[in-house]
């Protein structure tokens, strides 16, 4: 592929040179978390070595330097997802916290007892449990749009579930357990036609494709930094400014206030209204470095390369007798979930680990999806831009061997 050099990219990720149990590491657990390029590691070292102080507080030079870098990272996120304004970019701990924030602020201000929130049957627990907790608190009802055996949303049923009572739609952009990419533009248009706002859980989608929140016209978009080649413990809530303005704050504390007396508090403007306390300064700045790195490569090129990887892996997997692919949606990201006849995913995981291959074995924080397919767990190989076809060959050879060993 022109302009995409996977070997050059691999050089940028020091951990890829690690040996695991004496073997070359084959890291295929990217849907759980991605490895970090040198640029991200360097940005953290640089900050703590030369530029670190608290942000938005001091008049001294280091505080100004830290603040400038911190706000520059916000601007990078803003242009990366094509938001309208920096004010729409709220830094949180991750996609999970972002969804909890929306539930406890937007939800409390706009959703009442008897109202409905609509999700899908392929959600990660992080887009189920915050809504269950919220519904419990206020007496709202959680509705779930079903999926078919390919792992695709049954759109007609989703549409039927959009009712006068629906006050929010919260759906995953790309499923972590199945790889399915949802028809989010269609979902958003249908919800908006009824005046219903839409939150997209972009935790899986963001490292794999171009995300343009204006083009999507979503009302909220959430993602985690660690799945975007950045640090863990940092994530982003994007919200349309008009919605964020009208929402009550989430947590109280420093930085989110303009004026405090013991009688009352005047809240700060956006985005600071939602950022109480000292933020994860180095991690935000390193997330900015990850975005610079990705932009230089090009998200469109990454998406095209990963599509090639997935096609290659899927074709190889189909040749293995007794292998069942879980999730075969028409629109799919670089995730291969599978089961093997009579071999439990945890045995697959341990055996592949002995060959240096890291995959995920388990329910992928999506127990309802496992129930739907009637399996306790799956094995999942998830690909990133630094993976290669040779690594997929190593994976497939490993699977063949363990099938032989189990007999």
């Amino acid at each position: 592929m022109s302009g995409f050099d996977v070997n050059k990219i691999r050089q940028d990720f020091p951990i890829l040179a690690e040996k695991i149990r004496g073997k070359d590491l084959v890291y295929l657990d990217n849907a759980a978390t991605c490895q970090k390029p040198q640029a991200v590691i360097d940005s953290i070292v640089q900050l703590y070595s030369h530029d670190y102080a608290n942000v938005h507080r001091g008049v001294h030079s280091l505080s100004v330097r830290s603040t400038d870098k911190f706000e520059a990272a916000r601007a990078k996120v803003k242009s990366f997802i094509n938001a309208t304004s920096d004010k729409e970019i709220i830094f949180v701990r991750g996609a999970t916290e972002a969804i909890n924030l929306v539930a406890q602020t937007y939800g409390k201000a706009n959703i009442k007892a008897g109202d409905e929130i609509l999700i899908t049957a392929m959600e990660h627990h992080s887009n189920i449990v915050p809504w269950q907790m919220f519904c419990e608190q206020i007496g709202a009802v959680l509705k779930v749009a079903p999926i078919n055996l390919q792992g695709e949303l049954i759109y007609s049923e989703f549409e039927q579930l959009l009712s006068d009572k629906t006050k929010l739609v919260s759906v995953v952009h790309m499923s972590n357990a199945l790889g399915t990419i949802n028809p989010v533009k269609k979902i958003i248009a249908a919800a908006h036609a009824k005046g219903i706002p839409v939150l997209l859980d972009g935790a899986q989608a963001i490292p794999h494709m171009v995300v343009d929140v204006q083009e999507l016209d979503c009302d909220f978009y959430v993602f985690s930094g660690h799945k975007l080649y950045g640090p863990s413990g940092i994530g982003v809530l994007y919200g349309k400014q008009s919605l964020l303005e009208a929402m009550p704050p989430y947590q109280g504390g420093g930085d989110m206030i303009r004026k405090v007396t013991f009688e009352e508090t005047e809240y700060n403007t956006l985005p600071y209204k939602f950022e109480a306390g000292t933020p994860a300064i180095a991690d935000v700045i390193a997330l900015g470095a990850a975005i610079d790195y990705l932009v230089a490569i090009g998200m469109d090129k990454i998406a095209a390369y990963e599509a090639e990887l997935l096609d290659y892996a899927t074709a190889k997997a189909r040749q293995i007798e007794g292998l069942r692919i879980i999730g075969e949606a028409e629109e799919k990201g670089a995730i291969l979930s599978f089961t093997l006849n009579k071999i439990h995913p945890h045995d697959i995981g341990t055996m592949l680990d002995s060959l240096g291959i890291a995959i995920r074995a388990g329910h992928h924080c999506a127990m309802p999806v496992m129930d739907f397919y009637g399996v306790p767990a799956t094995a999942r190989a998830s690909f990133a831009m630094y993976n290669t076809k040779q690594e997929i060959d190593v994976l497939m050879a490993g699977i063949q061997s363990l099938i032989e060993v189990f007999g």
Binding site: H346, M351, V405, G407
Partner: protein, 150 residues
């Protein structure tokens, strides 16, 4: 190809995984308890037939990985004919073997169960081996509710 794993996946384990012993529902069981490992979805139902404090029969149903299936299969074999106190003592020794807290573990006292000693080197898999025994402990205490490793 899997030389490193020989301590963990011994032939006896593959054998019990392929052909689990005492894999049946017990209609006239005196004790019946469910065991669940939410981390990996392993699920089993353990059945015991008691005569006073002696376990006269043990069987199970369920699904799990090779380690957990072999562990429960071996356990149902070894506890038959044991008193509750003897089964408790085996559980204690098994726990010591799999969590490796004792310097000198007497593998001989564990008989066939010693094939599971390898899990000590795989902390993520210890719960697979101990689920059966936690379930047995609950059954002997006659706890009605399901037992979970978490």
């Amino acid at each position: 190809m899997f030389e490193d794993l020989r301590d963990l996946y011994q032939e006896v384990i593959f054998d019990h995984n392929r052909n689990p012993r005492n894999f049946r529902v017990m209609d006239n069981a005196d004790r019946q308890v469910e065991g669940f490992n939410p981390l990996c979805g392993d699920r089993l139902t353990l059945f015991l037939k008691m005569d006073g404090d002696v376990i006269t029969d043990a069987s199970f149903q369920g699904s799990g990985c090779a380690i957990s299936t072999a562990s429960v299969s071996l356990m149902t074999e070894i506890v038959k004919g044991k008193t509750e106190a003897e089964a408790d003592e085996l559980f204690r020794k098994f726990h010591e073997m799999t969590t490796g807290k004792e310097e000198h573990i007497n593998l001989e006292a564990l008989g066939k169960l010693a094939v599971l000693a390898g899990v000590r080197e795989y902390p993520a898999r210890v719960k697979c081996a101990t689920l059966a025994w936690h379930t047995l402990e609950a059954a002997l205490k006659n706890e009605a509710s399901a037992v979970s490793t978490e």
